[in-house]
């Protein structure tokens, strides 16, 4: 059986979620991974979207954060202020799944601008929920495509705090939440070093070399002493993901995030 790098990334991200998790989901790659987990090994996984939908079970991936599908399949729906006040800030969420345009070696994220803030080269959408998701959820998983423009030595703008610009700021600020504990890309998975909080490669996806990770990372990325191979996607995982994407494409008339 063959699979694409994007399918490997989504499958690897889905695997880290459990039926015990309450997960705050972003649109795109995180949404695909979270729903794949719910449809495979983690049927009890609770999905929460910032539009206020609690314990939603969409049959197709939403195109936007507030699609009707999310409301119609939710246990209940609360207002947006209640979502951010009681549920996110109140500490009810175990996992936040985030992406961004740029990430650095300490899991800090930029989703605001490329270039200078006042005279940006590229104006990105901005924080949305991310700034407080990153500090309020018990832990953060990051899913992003690997590349030198996105895995950078220094962020152009720090939208959402990971472990901080030197890896120490999060602890110094007294945050009790764990912060980024995993990055999944289309090449590999990374975990933070327990002391320095610098992300290191712990598994390479099948067929991916350490050299290609080095070439596609904007800092001299380090590898764990024993780098493992990411287990290949199973037939069941691929079938569930492809069914989900096909249903989504039929529903929206557009290709979904893989």
């Amino acid at each position: 059986m063959t699979w694409s790098a994007s399918e490997m990334m989504t499958v690897a991200a889905a695997r880290v979620l459990t039926s015990d998790d309450i997960c705050f989901v972003g649109i795109g790659l995180p949404s695909a991974a979270c729903n794949l987990a719910r449809l495979t090994h983690a049927p009890g996984l609770t999905l929460v979207y910032e539009s206020g939908t609690l314990a939603t079970k969409p049959q197709v991936l939403p195109l936007s954060i507030g699609d009707g599908e999310l409301f119609e399949t939710a246990l209940t729906t609360v207002s947006v202020p209640e979502m951010f006040q009681y549920w996110l800030q109140g500490g009810r969420i175990t996992v936040g799944f985030l992406g961004g345009a740029q990430v650095d070696r300490y899991g800090n994220l930029n989703s605001t601008v490329i270039g200078d803030y006042a005279r940006p080269k590229v104006r990105l959408p901005g924080s949305g929920g991310a700034t407080e998701i990153s500090t309020s959820c018990q832990r953060i998983f990051i899913v992003m495509r690997h590349g030198r423009k996105s895995f950078v030595e220094k962020l152009d703008f720090l939208t959402s705090l990971g472990h901080g610009p030197t890896g120490r700021e999060r602890r110094e600020l007294g945050l009790r939440t764990e912060g980024p504990s995993l990055i999944v890309t289309d090449l590999c998975t990374m975990r933070p070093d327990p002391q320095s909080k610098e992300f290191v490669v712990v598994t390479l996806h099948p067929g991916v070399t350490a050299e290609s990770v080095l070439e596609n990372t904007g800092w001299p990325i380090r590898f764990a002493p024993q780098v493992q191979e990411t287990p290949a996607p199973t037939e069941a995982e691929l079938a569930a993901l492809r069914d989900l994407n096909a249903r989504t494409a039929r529903a929206h008339g557009v290709a979904a995030a893989e």
């Binding site: 649109i27 795109g28 910032e50 539009s51 206020g52 939908t53 939403p62 195109l63 936007s64 954060i65 507030g66 699609d67 009707g68 999310l70 409301f71 729906t77 207002s79 947006v80 202020p81 979502m83 951010f84 006040q85 996110l88 800030q89 605001t112 803030y117 005279r119 940006p120 104006r123 990105l124 959408p125 901005g126 924080s127 949305g128 929920g129 991310a130 700034t131 407080e132 500090t135 309020s136 703008f157 720090l158 939208t159 959402s160 705090l161 901080g164 700021e169 999060r170 600020l173 945050l175 929206h252 008339g253 557009v254």
Partner: protein, 274 residues
């Protein structure tokens, strides 16, 4: 409450150039028809407030209605950038646009503070974020009981809130169903408020349901605008036009194509003068 007016008359009477205006609706129930009426009436110098600017603010900004935008996520959901917003921020077309940028949590707290009559919102946020360096409105306070440093932002108190909802009864009470977003807070935070609705009915049918109903006395006017949330959606009435959201990307990329689209679909679309 001025009663049930035409959309034209509601906008003419309760929105003025220079106002701060919040057209809210979180993906769902976005008040497009009202935004188009603002474009047709040529209102300018508006401070536009909205958590997710979406296509309606892309259109209003591209038509030169706004001098400032207060927002927390400016994109075309699931598609990409808002090209008119970017053109205004990056190149000042058709006029420069000042921005005041927040996070969703801050905006949500700021609307709730406005609705509660408070001067500011206090919350646990912006920790370690560069947003605090580019938005001087983001400040902090120390909790007098625990000593914890908390974020503070001014309450949002728009001159006008505009929302779209499913139904109003003949007295002007308005039912909002489905994803309710931040509309209730936006209405209660504002000095004036307009609700456009899919239909006017004899009975909202909400007695005993604990549904989200905005009493007539919280609104300045109600205006019938069937389909008034398209291309976003109205739960129970019509779905989101995802194909249009995708098509908007190409329309909005080019200034001339955008202007032609606005002329044909907004300026010469007749409006809703009753």
């Amino acid at each position: 409450m001025a009663g049930i007016l035409s959309l034209h008359d509601a906008i003419e009477r309760f929105v003025e150039s220079g106002d701060s205006v919040a057209l809210e609706g979180f993906t769902h129930l976005i008040p497009f028809a009202a935004g188009h009426e603002i474009i047709r009436q040529g209102l300018t110098d508006l401070t536009l407030i909205r958590m997710t600017p979406d296509l309606i603010y892309d259109q209003m900004i591209g038509c030169g209605c706004a001098r400032k935008l207060i927002f927390s996520w400016g994109g075309n959901p699931g598609v990409g950038s808002l090209h008119r917003l970017r053109d205004a921020v990056e190149r000042g077309w058709p006029r420069p646009l000042a921005i005041e940028e927040h996070s969703h949590s801050a905006m949500a707290h700021a609307y709730a503070a406005g609705a509660a009559g408070m001067p500011c919102a206090i919350f646990r946020g912006y920790i370690g974020s560069d947003l605090t360096a580019v938005n001087p409105q983001i400040r902090s306070v120390t909790c007098p009981f625990t000593g914890e440093t908390l974020a503070a932002v001014p309450a949002l108190r728009p001159d006008v809130a505009i929302i779209h909802a499913q139904k109003a009864d003949r007295a002007g009470n308005v039912l909002v169903a489905g994803i309710v977003g931040v509309q209730k807070e936006a209405v209660l935070a504002s000095r004036r408020a307009i609700a456009t609705v899919e239909e006017i009915v004899d009975d909202l049918g909400t007695t005993g349901t604990n549904a989200t109903v905005l009493p007539a006395w919280t609104l300045s006017a109600v205006a019938p605008a069937p389909g008034g949330a398209r291309p976003s959606y109205a739960h129970g009435y019509y779905g989101r036009d995802n194909a249009f959201y995708t098509a908007w990307d190409a329309i909005a990329r080019d200034r001339d194509r955008f202007t032609d689209w606005i002329d044909a679909n907004v300026r010469q679309a007749g409006g809703t003068r009753a």
